[in-house]
């Protein structure tokens, strides 16, 4: 693993966040320090350990498929930055 493993520009694109030059430089220095800790994990032998996603044992949490009251269309649209009639409006996605 490289010393400063994160390609910040590429990762920021994946995360859909426009970073300034200054932010990228600052984050790079901060990640370098944080990876000092993170690299310690690489020293542990975990080959035979199974991962824990969630600590309280629950599996296949299901409920009956029945109709229940939900938000009205108006309530669901009330916080929309832009709407058109009963729709959320977003910039064109397909050309």
């Amino acid at each position: 693993m490289a010393d400063v493993p994160i390609d910040i520009a590429y990762t920021a694109r994946l995360a859909r966040i426009a970073l300034t030059e200054e932010e990228s430089t600052r984050f790079a220095a901060q990640f370098e320090r944080l990876f000092g800790f993170i690299r310690e994990l690489q020293a542990l032998d975990v080959d035979r350990v199974s991962p824990t996603a969630q600590v309280v044992p629950l599996a296949n949490v299901l409920r009956d498929d029945e109709e229940k009251p939900c938000l009205s269309q108006e309530a669901a649209l009330a916080n929309a930055p832009e709407r058109e009639g009963p729709y959320f409006k977003a910039p064109r996605i397909l050309e």
Binding site: I17, R39, P51, A90, R92
Partner: protein, 498 residues
């Protein structure tokens, strides 16, 4: 073991004392609510604990409680007690920001389950408290709006991320508050503001309507003047919720019945690695030695336990929590709610500019770190490896609890620090959660209870128990609190404006 003795802390009325005064018709809920609102108003210029006040909602609820009491009707378990709610919980028709510009104008269309439970228990919700943006931080300085100040010394931070809740309870303005804890965000500010803060077992309290940060770690809990209030508030908010598939259907005990006044036959684990770490600070080490001596005087016996993987907690947490946050915060895309910046017109530019303008530096940092940890090619090396270390950490606690009933350990490595002292150094800030992260990763319940002062600044003792053993943990904390009375001192902020 139940203790029926009523303790009135000077200057900081407990929730149970207020409830008893209302039940005895000595005071009305409306009077108490108006007192709380004016105390908050008096203290806000110094503390800035609230993002949004809800005085109309509070007065209407208080009058409703008074009307029902006058008619001789049954009222809820928290009837008439002024309560602050961290601004991460949706309160229907109220602005709910999570401390972020991206939600600055978001009006919640429904209430969180815990808020509905507070309403059903007849608590009086007075306002929404300040917090680090999306609960990411340990000082409340990552709030997008303003920092909150510590009532013990207003040049210092209240801790975070539940800093507003801790500050307002610590000031004595309200007795009860809700916070959330992902890696220490209830316990560290509770320690800093000299109050009781409880992180319940993961799954004990519903997360429905609580804005998500790291879904496998986030848990809501009480922040209160004393342990009895924490017990009552936890009982009111705990329980299975069909709206949260990770909440667990186990009975909720009457926690107040578990409050003890002695610790005979209690075996407390002392964590070797934590003691070695705190030994580097003589004043802190001395405070915790005194706390253990007080526990021993109450009858507790001690067992040396080891958490060999605790030292990997920070690294594990800063892979898992950012990974989950990067996924959860993907929803802030400028389409359905929240801020939108249009950028150059195409949809990707809109996403990138919205998120650039809406998120603060700490949130961006964690989203990028988390996105990286989940990237194809790195997923196994980072995220899966961290989840495996999490298993080892859980096994450490299992082994420890085979030898003891509960663990007593430091909640923090230092007393509250000055504003600005760590805000330019995220790793120094992350290290603040060294003693609280392992419990979060293991999902076990843990609390902080006032344990005394270093340089006149409050410090908390952490008590942790096996999963779903909150009653045992609260019982131990209560015995310690009643014997030591560390929280009885008044805050300088409250004293100066009284």
């Amino acid at each position: 073991m139940s203790d029926n003795g009523k303790l009135t802390v000077p200057g900081a009325p407990t929730g149970h004392a207020l409830r008893d005064a209302i039940a005895a018709k000595q005071r009305t809920a409306e009077e108490i609510t108006r007192d709380a609102l004016s105390a908050i108003e008096r203290l806000e210029p110094q503390l800035r604990a609230y993002i949004t006040m809800l005085p109309d909602r509070a007065i209407a609820k208080a009058r409703d409680v008074d009307r029902r009491i006058a008619r001789g009707e049954q009222v809820g378990s928290l009837a008439g007690i002024p309560t602050a709610v961290k601004d991460i919980f949706c309160v229907r028709d109220a602005v709910t920001t999570a401390g972020s510009k991206i939600l600055e104008r978001f009006v919640a269309p429904y209430s969180a389950t815990v808020v509905e439970k507070l309403d059903a228990a007849d608590a009086i919700i007075v306002g929404k408290t300040n917090m680090d943006e999306f609960a990411m931080g340990s000082s409340c300085e990552n709030s997008a709006f303003f920092p909150t100040h510590n009532p013990w010394d207003t040049t210092r931070v209240p801790g975070g991320s539940s800093g507003g809740s801790a500050s307002t309870v610590g000031s004595g303005a309200v007795a009860l508050a809700l916070g959330t804890d992902t890696g220490g965000s209830i316990r560290e500010p509770a320690s800093f503001c000299n109050i009781v803060g409880v992180k319940p077992t993961y799954g004990r309290v519903s997360r429905y309507g609580m804005i998500a940060f790291a879904s496998s770690l986030d848990q809501a809990g009480p922040m209160t003047t004393d342990v009895r209030d924490a017990a009552d508030l936890l009982e009111a908010i705990a329980g299975w919720d069909p709206m949260d598939s990770t909440s667990v259907d186990v009975p909720v005990p009457r926690y107040a019945d578990a409050l003890r006044t002695d610790l005979s036959s209690v075996r407390l684990g002392i964590v070797r690695e934590f003691e070695e770490s705190i030994a580097g600070d003589a004043a802190m080490a001395q405070l915790y030695k005194a706390a253990y001596a007080d526990l021993a005087a109450l009858g507790a016996t001690f067992v040396d336990v080891s958490l060999p993987h605790a030292k990997y907690g920070l690294a594990t947490y800063y892979l898992i929590a950012p990974a989950e946050c990067s996924s959860n915060l993907a929803r802030y895309d400028g389409v359905r709610y929240g801020l939108r910046k249009n950028g150059s017109g195409d949809v990707f530019s809109m996403f990138e500019q919205t998120r650039a303008a809406g998120f603060g530096p700490e949130v961006k940092r964690r989203i990028i770190l988390g996105t990286y940890a989940l990237c194809s090619g790195y997923y196994d090396a980072y995220y899966v490896r961290a989840q495996k270390v999490r298993t080892l950490m859980k096994q450490d606690f299992d082994a420890a609890f085979a030898a003891c009933d509960a663990i007593a350990c430091p909640a923090v490595s230092c007393p509250p620090f000055p504003l600005g002292a760590k805000s330019q150094d995220p790793v120094a800030m992350y290290l603040m959660d060294y003693f609280t992260i392992p419990m979060s990763l293991a999902g076990i319940p843990a609390l902080s209870v006032p344990a005394g002062y270093v340089n006149d600044l409050p410090v908390g003792l952490q008590i942790c128990a096996p999963i779903f053993e909150e009653a045992r943990m609260l019982g131990i904390a209560h015995a310690y609190e009643q014997a030591t009375q560390h929280a009885r001192r008044r805050t300088p902020a409250a004293a100066a404006t009284a």
